[in-house]
């Protein structure tokens, strides 16, 4: 009897010892603050730089992305905003002599939920009197086909489609009673980098005859407003009962991209 017991004990031990650990380990609890994907921004520069200072507006109101139905489209649909973020890239400044200066590695993710991201310091610029600026809304096709990227373009920033390689150029989520989607959601993930659905849009918001004077000891501030309402009006008037979800590179994405191509305005320059 005792022998059987011993044999049994060994059998248990033997089975346990040989088998690979089948018990799923519970996922570690992650503190989002400890995620080092986005290291703290470097200190503001003291010269040879321009600050593009973004402010998000809905018409004449400041954007409050709290999910409350605060806003109305040109078509008369009321809506809320819960999330608003977009890439600007390939920033080029032109000075009063016509010389162009392009920021190297020029990729910035502007996220309404992250106030740091709304202050874009363009660094290491040559001194000069800059009279205009242009940039791309979105990410150029080259970076969509070159494997995984880092920094603002890290796919962990939730602005990347893994099932269909490519960046989401701009993202807006909220709700509208006019939307027939579940929970009246409005979801606009605009992307696509290749024809016929290339969603990048090049913009050059006017300096209105002002100049940004860059010296080794000055950092002019260019105040840029981004108007959410432009997503839903001109050239295409959007009604949420007919278009409330865009989540792929397609014709609807082009409609929204065409709309938001004029969402930026330079409100003023402080030298």
């Amino acid at each position: 009897m005792r022998i059987i017991g011993v044999v049994f004990a060994f059998l248990v031990f033997w089975i346990g010892g040989c088998k690979k650990d089948p018990i799923p380990v519970p996922p570690p609890i992650i503190n989002p603050d400890s995620v080092p994907n986005n290291p703290p921004p470097p200190p503001p520069p003291t010269g040879n730089a321009v600050l593009l200072n973004f402010e998000h507006m809905v018409g004449s109101n400041q954007l409050i992305a709290d999910g409350q139905l605060r806003y109305q489209t040109a078509a008369g649909d009321s809506f809320s905003v819960e999330l608003f973020k977009y890439y600007i890239s390939n920033i080029v400044f032109t000075d009063d002599n016509g010389n162009e200066w392009a920021e190297p590695e020029s990729y910035h993710l502007i996220d309404h939920a992250d106030t740091n991201s709304m202050k874009v310091y363009v660094r290491n610029m040559p001194a000069g009197n800059y009279v205009s600026v242009r940039w791309m809304i979105g990410v150029d096709s080259a970076r969509n086909v070159s494997g995984t990227q880092t920094g603002a373009l890290d796919p962990s920033n939730a602005m990347f489609w893994s099932w269909q390689t490519g960046y989401i150029m701009a993202k807006l989520e909220g709700k509208s009673p006019a939307s027939t989607t579940v929970q009246n959601m409005i979801i606009f993930h605009v992307g696509g980098f290749a024809a016929p659905y290339a969603s990048q849009r090049n913009v050059n918001p006017s300096f209105n005859a002002q100049q940004a004077v860059v010296t080794s000891t000055s950092v002019p501030k260019v105040d840029v407003t981004t108007n959410v309402l432009e997503w839903f009006t001109s050239p295409n008037n959007i009604q949420f009962n007919t278009l409330s979800v865009v989540t792929a590179p397609d014709a609807d994405a082009m409609i929204i991209a065409d709309n938001y191509a004029d969402m930026f305005n330079v409100a003023g320059i402080t030298n």
């Binding site: 033997w14 570690p28 400890s34 995620v35 994907n37 390689t165």
Partner: protein, 345 residues
């Protein structure tokens, strides 16, 4: 009594040792010499050239560790290796469709993994355009690993083991998506399958049997326009006349391009290792190679995008099918399938 207990203890210990020693066979340690990427004779230039991502021993081992680690999934249960098993050339044995977290079933067959460095696109619909971007798709797919990339990076950062492995591979312990996927690319890019009996025949190292030779001749006249040698795929997308499964209604390539002209088209799979990578077709509907061959001699699903070469199927006699089966079996690469460096350690 004491003596008997001792005997039984010794007996059990012996049983334990014997039974255990069969299991953990000693896997030869991978060395840097095993990690030289060679373009096999007759292969085209690879698409993935390991630019900015030179294969190192530490990087390869990190990629292997990640490949077999269920940490990548939302509930830490599913690894890449769950559905890509080396014994069947990294396909999923006996699974037409694979199950991910919570037992959720996918809609497409897990393909074998090899010669990935020669591919322009990945997945049956070609939705992924770069070897480095590929691992992100199963990680984020809700019926596969259902995890966010950000959370995977956070989990890796919480692991002392991975901090050390990333440091060994990349010089410091910063863990980013790019580094993770580059380690994956080192491991998966090294998966080269070019040592089958067919390859040895092509190199003049062995002979094929008469039936295998007949099969090769039939293959070249009737199959090779899409399953082009030496990769045994043209790396394009075709509609091969499979009726859409009404429970899935998979549009194939059209899902990616949005073009009606791409409806029901899927990436041409390589026929290398085909004898071991069943079930077959993008949805795993066929269990045997015979069923695949029979498909092409049966009435095909007629649609506007059916490949022009297949409008009347492929005429094959029973003898030709038998010859083709014999030839296709020569494409199994046991060197690759048994290569210890790809094994879970």
């Amino acid at each position: 009594m004491k003596f008997r207990t001792l005997i039984s203890t010794a007996l059990c210990a012996a049983v334990t040792i014997v039974s255990c020693s069969r299991d953990p066979e000693i896997i030869p340690e991978t060395t840097a010499e095993d990690l030289v990427f060679k373009v096999p004779q007759g292969f085209p230039a690879p698409v993935y050239t390991f630019q900015n991502n030179e294969v190192t021993l530490a990087g390869f081992i990190l990629g292997r560790e990640l490949f077999y680690d269920p940490l990548l999934s939302r509930d830490n249960t599913i690894s890449c290796g769950s559905c890509h098993q080396q014994g069947v050339a990294f396909a999923h044995a006996e699974h037409g469709l694979s199950h991910g977290v919570d037992g959720l079933l996918g809609t497409r067959n897990a393909p074998g993994l090899f010669n990935l460095a020669w591919h322009y696109t990945f997945m049956h619909d070609g939705g992924v355009n770069h070897l480095e971007s590929q691992p992100l798709a199963p990680i984020e797919n809700p019926v596969e690993m259902d995890e966010t990339v950000a959370n995977v990076i956070a989990k890796l950062n919480a692991s002392q083991k991975y901090k050390k492995m990333f440091k060994d591979a990349f010089g410091d312990d910063s863990i980013t998506t790019q580094r993770m996927t580059r380690a994956f690319s080192q491991f998966q890019g090294m998966m080269v399958s070019a040592d089958s009996k067919y390859d040895k025949y092509m190199r003049g190292e062995t002979q094929l049997s008469q039936q295998e030779m007949n099969g090769l001749a039939t293959f070249r006249s009737k199959c090779a326009s899409c399953h082009t040698e030496p990769l045994f795929t043209d790396r394009f997308f075709h509609n091969n006349g499979l009726a859409p499964d009404p429970t899935i209604m998979d549009p194939g390539r059209m899902m990616i391009t949005g073009l009606v002209a791409d409806s029901l088209k899927f990436a041409t799979p390589s026929l290398r290792n085909i004898a071991v990578t069943g079930p077959y077709m993008h949805d795993g509907r066929y269990q045997t190679l015979q069923q695949c061959l029979d498909h092409y001699t049966s009435p095909l699903y007629q649609s506007a995008t059916l490949d022009p070469l297949l409008t009347s199927g492929i005429p094959l006699t029973a003898q030709e099918k038998a010859d083709l089966s014999a030839f296709l079996s020569t494409l199994t690469d046991w060197t690759f399938i048994n290569d210890p460096k790809f094994r879970e350690q």
